[in-house]
Structure formats: structure tokens, C-alpha cells
Symmetry: C2
Amino acid sequence: MNYSVSEENYIKSIYHLQQQTDTVTTNSLANELRTKPASVTDMLKKLRTKRLVDYEKYRGFKLNAAGSKIALGIVRRHRLWEFFLVNKLGFEWDKVHDIAEELEHVSSAELIKKLDSFLNFPQTDPHGDPIPDTNGKMAVIKQLSLAEIDAKKTVVVSSVGNQSPEMLEMLKHYHIGIGTSLKINRHFAFDGSVEIKVTQQSACIISGQMAKNIFVHHG
Amino acid sequence: MNYSVSEENYIKSIYHLQQQTDTVTTNSLANELRTKPASVTDMLKKLRTKRLVDYEKYRGFKLNAAGSKIALGIVRRHRLWEFFLVNKLGFEWDKVHDIAEELEHVSSAELIKKLDSFLNFPQTDPHGDPIPDTNGKMAVIKQLSLAEIDAKKTVVVSSVGNQSPEMLEMLKHYHIGIGTSLKINRHFAFDGSVEIKVTQQSACIISGQMAKNIFVHHG
DNA sequence: AATTTTTTTTAGATTTGTCTAAATTAAATT
DNA sequence: AATTTAATTTAGACAAATCTAAAAAAAATT
């Protein structure tokens, strides 16, 4: 089966919203896609007919197994292209989302296979998010933010929860990227800010906001 | 201005047909795009409104300066992507057309700029066709086929007039590719076949059909 | 529990790009 | 020059994806 760009965008957005809430609502999807609730209802009937979603009117909806598989294929293409744009073409990672959003709809399976191989089978995209494999299998990475980790531990940055230029600017300022190793010195109770020490740099304090958006794993 | 995928396809096809005949007819364009003449008429009214074509009903049509510029932008993107697919991803050149056809509609100018640089500013695509520059300037390559060149001359293959798998198969058999240097031994009047000698190979005879589809420049 | 507010769906319209069938114009033939 | 044939355009319909406004259902509030 082949899906239209519009159908693919709906499927992908439902997938992303499901990460937060198991069942997705018409309004939230309309908001995500910057469209109107009436349009969402229309498309959901279509996706139901194609047997990609479980949907009863007024009851919300979710992707079924078939829908999830399609979604993971789209996510795979999106993240491989993001990796390409950053690591081969030299884009900053806050600039690649919209372009990858277009590239992800190019439908050749052979293209994605060869792109994957050309990129050396990367496991995560430039934001640290895992890339699903051909079968839709994706590494589950425990998302622990700097705000949740005990002091004195040394950790490695694995992903960021915000892909805005503003976030990138701050990360650059602190010399933090995916893979950066750092030690948590202490947490400040007053505003949740965190003192960290990046290797070969003097200790510094990041805001609670930042801490919540920097995800790490034990290094 | 931003154009739809459909508009871009019409513009590109008009451009290609104009290479052969200055003025394009409704039927020929419908045939090229595998659509119906009525659809072509509809779209041409639209392109005329957008001031991209000169078109009077029943009189045929052609791209004006603005339309040609758009067309060359699309050709540029198409050929850069073809170069990428062959030289970076390892596709055979008979497999890349359809994929490039999709990729060419991805609209980011920054993407194409960076792709061009990543590919090291190639001058021709994998079939030897020249790649227009950012301003729509394109090298004019004199298209002389092997059939038209005098015997005893040594030439370099610059492009091929047919991008089918069958053509590729034959070229591979003869060890001929873009850039291959070869000497024309003699022409046979009976059927137009040509005896050639590729460097480090024994002389061989190619059909008149082949000879007409292999373009060369003096090496 | 009744009422109000919010969410969702339906009904009907709109835009883009396509189509078929009929009408019109141009080109070719007699 | 008249007629036939071919090419092109118009008229009207259709599918996909969207929208607005109104109706219906669910959730929240009193």
C-alpha cells in the first residue's frame, strides 16, 4: 500500500502524540497538524477504512499494529534524513526538521536502504532520538533528564527534548552536544537549577528548564 | 513564488520538449506527462496566469524567461540528486530517474546549496547531461554522436541519449561509461555500425543504433 | 440532576488537479 | 474550396483534502 503525503503526516502525528497519551483526541491532533478538527475527523474515517487506526466517534483514536508499522517507517526515513543533513551536508540540527519533513515522503525503499548503508547504519538521529530499523524495531532509551539524576553521578548526554534554535544556542554556549560526558555536582532546590562539570571545562550552572530538556544515560 | 509538484512537472516537461521543438503542442505534453489533453489545457491557463508561459489557444506554447528559469532550477535539483544517488549511494544510473523525480520537488534552496557543495560542485549528471548553476546557466555541450564523427578520431564519451537498463547493459558489456576514451576505427555503410577501440581493450563493433546514442567530444 | 461549556461530528462548500464527452478550431485531403 | 480528420478547448463532473457553520455528544459546572 502507498499513502499520500497527507495521510503520512496524520499517521506520524498520531504516533508522536501517542508517546504522551495512549489515546489521541481530535483537538490535539488538529492542533499538532495546524488544521481544523473537522478535517481530522474526515481523515480519521479514511484511515479507519484503511485499517490503520482504532477509532470510534467521540472516543478518541490510536494507531493499530498496521498503523504503527507505517508510522515507524516514516520516523525511520525522517531520522535517517536528519542524520544525513547534519552529518553529511553540515546543517545545524535546529534547521533540519522541516527539510526532513519533506524528504521523509520520498517513497523508494531501495533509497532508504542505500542511504542507511551510506550513513553507516546510525542508531540515533542528531537529536539523540533512536532510528527504527527496517522492521520497525526501535531501541527504547530510558529518558532520564538531568533534573532527575542524583548529584555526583557522571552521565552522557543522549538526547534533547527541544529542537529549537534557542535550545541549540544554549547548548553550544555550554559546549554540550549528544555524547558529551558531564558530572552532576549538585541540584539547587530553590529553582531546580543544576551545577554541572563538563570534561575539560570549569563547572557551570544550568537552569531547571534546561536540565529538564537534557536527557542522559549513565556513562 | 512556490509551485506545486504538478506545476513543476508541467514546467519541466515543457522545458524538455522545447529542446526538440521550439513550440510545444498540447498533445505532445499530454503524452509526455501521461495525462489527457484537456488536463494540459487547464494547467496551461494556470501557468499563463502565473506568467510562466506564452500561450494562445490553439497556437501551442513555450516557456517565457521566468518559466525557463524555474525549469532550470528543477533540472538543477534533479541532476544534483541523480549525481548523489549514483556517486554517493551507489545506484546504477538506470535506476535513479524516478527517485530523483521525487527528490527534485523538495523545495529548500539551502538544501540544494549544501548538496552541491557536498558533491563538490559537479558539472554533469551520471548520464553526462550538464547541471545548470544557481542562476540557471548551463554549459552547452555540442551533442555529436559516434555515428557523426569521422573515422580515425579519438574521442571521449560525454553523455548517452538513452537511459534505459538495456542501454546500460550494453555499455557495461563494452566497458563504456561517461569519460571513456575511445578511437573510431571505421564506419560500415551497410547498417551504420561502427568499429571502435576502447583503451586497453580489443576493437569491437557497435550497432548504428548504439552509435547514435553515444555522444562524445573531442578528447 | 440540570445546565453550561467544550469537544467532536456532520453537512455542505471550496480548491486543486484530474477526467470524459461534446464542441470548436486547425490541418489535411479530396 | 469543400470536406474529412485530427488537435484542442470547453463544459461539466469527480476525488482528495481542506474549510466554515451548525448540530450532536460528552464533560464540566452549578
